[in-house]
């Protein structure tokens, strides 16, 4: 298994990366199974919730409001968190966030660190930076542990190892934990992870977490999880460092009554995840006595500035859009070349890259709208995809080399054609004549050259009929007169 490239600055274009995974039959089977299971559970629990649409409306409104007033809510969070004994740091980009965290770890003389699953830390590529500085990183979420020990990359926002099956986990654990005769029973494998990590929880004094929500009113941080590894990291170490995107803030504690309801149902198809932890700064005698929050911008404030694209930041990372997406269900997450895959990744990643990388992602969608239909905070992902496609095309307009791309040329030509009925009729005639060269005796086209081959590689195309509709109408009009 070759390791997927998850750095958007060097990842291959989506269609190229997708081609590799489309041939990986085991991965596709694993992804299809996992997404089917989560989708079915989610559908049941959403159906039983009579006020689901009202919850979605409220959740979307709260998130949009928090973003519209982001500056004041962040300052309020900072004030409350500081009053409660926390230290708030601000990181403009990934490099600064890594530097801040590294400096804090050095102050702790840390040689080891335990981590709760955080996609934001993968976004800033924290682990390689820590390892390079001689700090050993221990991922404690079961899925993250599987990936770390297997030298693999996350393929899903909520269940990062969903592309790996039990047989593969058994093989990884047996090899890396030195366990002979390990069975592939998930119960046994989970017990192996428990034993493997128990000592780390009790001995490593520094932990890193992400945040699901920041509460401005109280300065609290909320983390939702299932396994208890989060609670271990939040309770046992001496020092806790939380890395959070600036968009994670909610105005008030009471807003959690909405977001926790929609998050668990959307993410894992549960009424509530097994453990939700909420803490505020430092509590004397209970949990870490040193607490740092690193607020990460890394492109987010620029997303905020664009009116259509801003809704991207409403995301609460439930991954319901991934599970329902017919593209993601074929490719899994690695094809997206970013820790954020699926529909939300297709809009988030290129924007975090300030549209300088990952420009093929906004096109990695059939715009079917299934993502928007399930989104608990009503992000109109198709609308944002189209807005980003326009941004990419606008870049191309300024690059003369791109003007000769067949797709670009075709679009410009079509624009001229559609500008008048006379030109359109001429184009209809020309394409009928042109395509007749490729049309078989059965009236169908089986093989086309150039871009057309990308259609005929798997589908036939019916030849263009002799008479267009408008010709028929005109002829009929004449008859009737």
């Amino acid at each position: 298994m070759t390791r997927a490239v998850m750095d958007p600055t060097i990842a291959p274009p989506f269609p190229v990366a997708a081609l590799t995974v489309l041939r990986d039959t085991q991965l596709r089977k694993n992804v299809a199974h996992a997404t089917d299971v989560i989708q079915a559970k989610r559908a049941l629990l959403v159906a039983e919730k009579k006020d689901w649409q009202q919850l979605r409306t409220a959740a979307a409104a709260i998130r949009a409001h928090a973003l519209a007033n982001l500056g004041s809510y962040l300052e309020e969070f900072e004030k409350r968190c500081t009053e409660a004994g926390g230290v708030v740091h601000w990181a403009a980009d990934a490099a600064e966030a890594r530097a801040i965290i590294l400096k804090l770890l050095r102050e702790e003389n840390a040689t080891e660190v335990i981590k709760i699953k955080t996609m934001t830390s993968a976004e800033i590529q924290l682990n390689p930076a820590l390892e390079a500085a001689g700090i050993s990183v221990f991922e404690t979420d079961l899925a993250e542990l599987i990936l770390q020990l297997g030298g693999d990359e996350p393929s899903h926002i909520v269940a990062p190892a969903l592309h790996v099956n039990r047989g593969q986990v058994r093989e990884i654990f047996a090899r890396r934990m030195g366990l002979q005769n390990l069975s592939d029973d998930p119960q046994v494998l989970t017990a192996a992870a428990r034993t493997y990590l128990r000592q780390k929880f009790l001995s490593v004094p520094t932990a890193i977490s992400g945040a699901n929500f920041l509460v401005a009113e109280t300065g609290s941080v909320a983390v939702v999880e299932s396994e208890g590894n989060g609670r271990m990291c939040l309770t046992l170490p001496r020092t806790m460092i939380t890395l959070a995107g600036i968009e994670k803030v909610l105005p008030k504690f009471k807003d959690l009554e909405i977001l926790l309801q929609v998050l668990a149902r959307s993410a894992t198809g549960e009424r509530m995840n097994p453990y939700t932890s909420l803490w505020t700064g430092v509590t004397p005698g209970d949990g870490p006595q040193r607490f740092h929050v690193v607020l990460l911008d890394n492109g987010r404030s620029q997303i905020l500035a664009r009116p259509k694209e801003r809704q991207t930041l409403q995301c609460i990372r439930c991954a319901a859009c991934l599970n329902t997406c017919p593209v993601y269900r074929q490719t899994g997450g690695h094809a997206y070349g970013s820790v954020y895959g699926g529909p939300i990744g297709a809009i988030l990643t290129p924007q975090l890259m300030q549209m300088e990388h990952a420009q093929t992602l906004p096109f990695a969608s059939s715009l079917c709208g299934a993502c928007y239909a399930v989104c608990p905070v009503k992000i109109n992902i198709p609308e944002v995809l189209i807005a980003l496609r326009a941004q990419v095309v606008d870049q191309e307009r300024g690059q003369p080399a791109r003007w000769f791309d067949p797709m670009f040329l075709g679009m410009k030509a079509a624009n001229v054609i559609f500008a008048s009925a006379r030109q359109f009729r001429a184009a209809q005639w020309a394409s009928r004549v042109g395509l007749s060269l490729f049309t078989g005796k059965d009236g169908w086209i089986h093989r086309l050259p150039g871009l057309g081959a990308r259609w005929t590689v798997t589908r036939d195309l019916r030849g263009i009929p002799e008479q267009s509709f408008r010709q028929w109408w005109a002829a009929r009009d004449k008859e009737q007169m």
């Binding site: 403009a92 600064e96 009790l202 396994e227 600036i246 009424r271 097994p274 911008d297």
Partner: protein
């Protein structure tokens, strides 16, 4: 904070510029909140639902009256086959039956708590709809660590503390808690092929005694 103070200004300035349009601002109090605020079940139905939900999660649920509580706890402790227990500093003495080892948590060390094979606590609230036990970590609910390391958590919840829906719990919080843990079943994972496995790092066994103080 010296390293990031200039970034603080930069980020807040960027945000300020991005959100400058007054049209985008809307008042917090006017946000739509048309979802269900209250449940529909009476006390018995609520207890039934809580019991059903917790059993789905693989937790044990028993009922008791306030008078019989000490006896019910003693039975459960006896049947658990466990010997050494940790408890929060302010739980009633009758919750600790004789014949077992009881460690009262006055800042016990993690290694000592780790040696206990059970923990008994109270709770702040219960939420029937999701089968959730809410801890605000008062002196009857204990520090976070004591309900984390032992393998069995026995929680005592009064029926009067049980609500049906999550918003009803939030209504009971007159002040936002600064520390809270919401527990919905024993620790679990579905990371391997979406197969739910109970018991990863938190307690693998969860029991609840519902005390009928409501009649």
């Amino acid at each position: 904070m010296t390293t990031s103070s200039s970034s603080r200004r930069t980020i807040l300035d960027r945000i300020g510029a991005a959100t400058a349009l007054p049209a985008a601002k809307n008042s917090y109090d006017e946000l739509p909140r048309d979802y269900a605020k209250f449940g529909e079940l009476d006390s018995d139905a609520c207890i039934h639902l809580m019991t059903e939900r917790l059993r789905e999660y693989g937790a044990d649920v028993a009922q008791s009256t306030p008078e019989l509580l000490a006896t019910v706890i003693a039975e459960q402790v006896q049947q658990s086959g466990r010997q050494r227990f940790v408890v929060p500093p302010e739980i009633p003495a009758e919750w600790m039956p004789a014949g077992f080892e009881w460690k009262v948590d006055h800042e016990l060390r993690a290694t000592d708590i780790e040696k206990c094979d059970g923990v008994i606590t109270g709770a702040f609230a219960g939420i029937a709809d999701s089968g959730t036990i809410v801890l605000h970590h008062s002196n009857t609910e204990g520090r976070r660590i004591i309900t984390l390391l032992p393998d069995w958590h026995l929680c005592i919840l009064n029926a009067s503390q049980l609500v049906e829906t999550l918003p009803e719990y939030f209504q009971r919080c007159t002040q936002p808690p600064l520390l809270a843990t919401y527990i919905s079943g024993p620790s679990a994972t579905a990371d391997i092929e979406m197969t739910r496995i109970q018991g990863v790092h938190g307690p693998r066994f969860l029991s609840l005694i519902l005390v009928r103080d409501d009649r």
